[in-house]
Symmetry: none
Subunit: 195 residues, 4 copies
């Protein structure tokens, strides 16, 4: 079934859903609240999403594509892989800093893998893709002797864990820029830069 209707209204509902799910979790976020936040009547929500479950799935999955476009870029290694890495990390963190709401919801899902099994699997896939994206730069850096010799997949995993942990701990978009710069700098340590 195609989705004519108002794409704009659908987007507003989805955004509101992310907002409310992120803030209150699945059960406490009510359709009524989401509708209100989106500025539509609650019946309208069911025009665009079959039920609450589908809305949640959409809220988790649909923005993921955009996240991947930013997080999974894999630059061709040059002669300065560490500088490239730093640039990449910087991009990641800047992006994540903006995605406070969405990423909180992601962590909510990851944190309940039994409850949201299908979604969890989809999100877990992401870590594998991040490994692939980071590997070339890491390998290059190690080959050039600028990074300690560690298993590249482990490095990618710990880096992703770090990002998640930062988002969990440091919640707010009103964090000053310098704080994010600090995180970026420390994140690089996980890659084992020499000196």
């Amino acid at each position: 079934m195609a989705l004519p209707k108002s794409e704009e209204k659908r987007a507003r509902i989805l955004e509101a859903a992310i907002q409310m799910f992120s803030q209150n979790g699945y059960s406490k976020a009510t359709i009524k609240d989401i509708a209100k936040e989106a500025g539509v009547s609650f019946g309208t929500v069911f025009t665009y999403f079959e039920n609450k479950d589908e809305l949640f799935k959409a809220a988790v999955i649909e923005p993921l594509e955009g996240v991947k476009r930013v997080m999974l870029v894999s630059p061709e290694p040059t002669e300065e892989p560490v500088a490239q890495l730093k640039e990449l990390i910087s991009t990641h963190f800047r992006f994540f800093a903006q995605q406070a709401t969405y990423s909180r919801m992601i962590q909510y899902v990851i944190g309940q893998p039994d409850r949201f099994h299908d979604l969890f699997l989809e999100l877990d896939q992401f870590s594998l893709e991040l490994r692939d994206a980071l590997r070339p730069l890491i390998v290059k850096g190690q080959e050039m002797g600028q990074l300690i010799e560690l298993n590249p997949d482990d490095v990618a995993d710990t880096y992703l864990a770090f990002i998640n942990g930062v988002r969990l701990t440091r919640i707010d978009s009103y964090e000053e820029r310098s704080r994010w710069d600090m995180y970026i700098q420390h994140a690089l340590l996980l890659f084992g830069p020499k000196q």
Copy 2:
């Protein structure tokens, strides 16, 4: 405050609650499920906890003391601070590996600071205490030239973020020991060991 009744039964309920809250979140975990898991009747839960909210608070707060006893030990720095640090990290991760269920619930709370505001504040306090606990060792390591000169509080924060991230990503107790060893090794990187 002396609790009459059966301490043992209370403990069983609390454990079941942690289990269910951790697995399903606050709303989806039902008192009925918790009671069943604890092997008591529905009504008995209310003999030991005023209501669901209080049960949740107890499930979050009461085990925290034990966590602190392990996580906030602050060894007197010797001439080998980095070795001490490694030992400390090892202790932390071994402990966390066991606390899979409880720590998932903690992250659930941290991830919804608006919803669980009071609990969040209590847990947030923890990060400050970890700073204090780690500072002596970090400072000593830096003084001895074995650690890069970074702000000790930042190091503590990023380390805690990392722990949280690892627990979030790598969920399960059925993880092999080697995996945890890897995390311990990589965690040390965040402290900026020279070489």
Copy 3:
């Protein structure tokens, strides 16, 4: 405040509520019973009334206006105040005879002033207003020497007490007309008619 929804359905629920509260008291009257009596589903009650408490309040307060319109008429005294009084009493009792259900609920509330404090105060106000309504006729009757000189407010109070007492004792609408005529006749005695 314009209520959308169906005024007619709301009225039916309210009537059913009065019926059930009057018969069984607040606690024993269940929302389920009220809904059934009103011919609506359980949930529909909550579409029109926030909760059981609000429904009870509405059941007590809303019909009061109509009661006041009948009970608080204060006719301009003529040269035959006692005849007017008798007419008034007659109106009161005929009305009360019809309001068996509602007035039982009122007495239920008055009988538990601590439990239903706010409602009690609202109903208690009624007695003051009845004083004002009756005073002109009583005073006129006393001035004309047709009534014993008694404090008019006391007369009004005892008269109201009598009405309440009659409603409490003689409950039922299947009472014959003659019984009510008797009560009317005896009620007049409380005003102290000479001869």
Copy 4:
């Protein structure tokens, strides 16, 4: 089964029950509250009364004997029946003024005849007995031309209604004595004293 046990404890529970039932009605008064008020553990209540229902019945019925002893005295008419009547009324009201709590509970029962059918019948009997008790004095007064010729049973009924109404309206023991004197004076009017 006889009732050895502690009669005194039983009495305390019964009194507490009257207190709580009177204040909050049957359903809202909990066994726990009653036990607390009586200064016993709530399990003890079940030692003396089979269940809540039986406790309520006992609370309603048992004190009734004492009430009857006061309210149903029928003095031998002398040559001053009106003075005797006034004395009798005075006794009634003084007694009722003391029995604020118990009489409120009685009215609670009378007000819900369907719900408390058996108890209602028992209490309703009282009005017939009051008729018998008052009749001699009323008849004598009428014969002597000191009272208007009204049906004695009707007079007794309206008098009882008045008492009930007064208790319902004027609730409190902190009423001043003068107020009760007023009620006594006005109550006499219902008997139709000449002049």
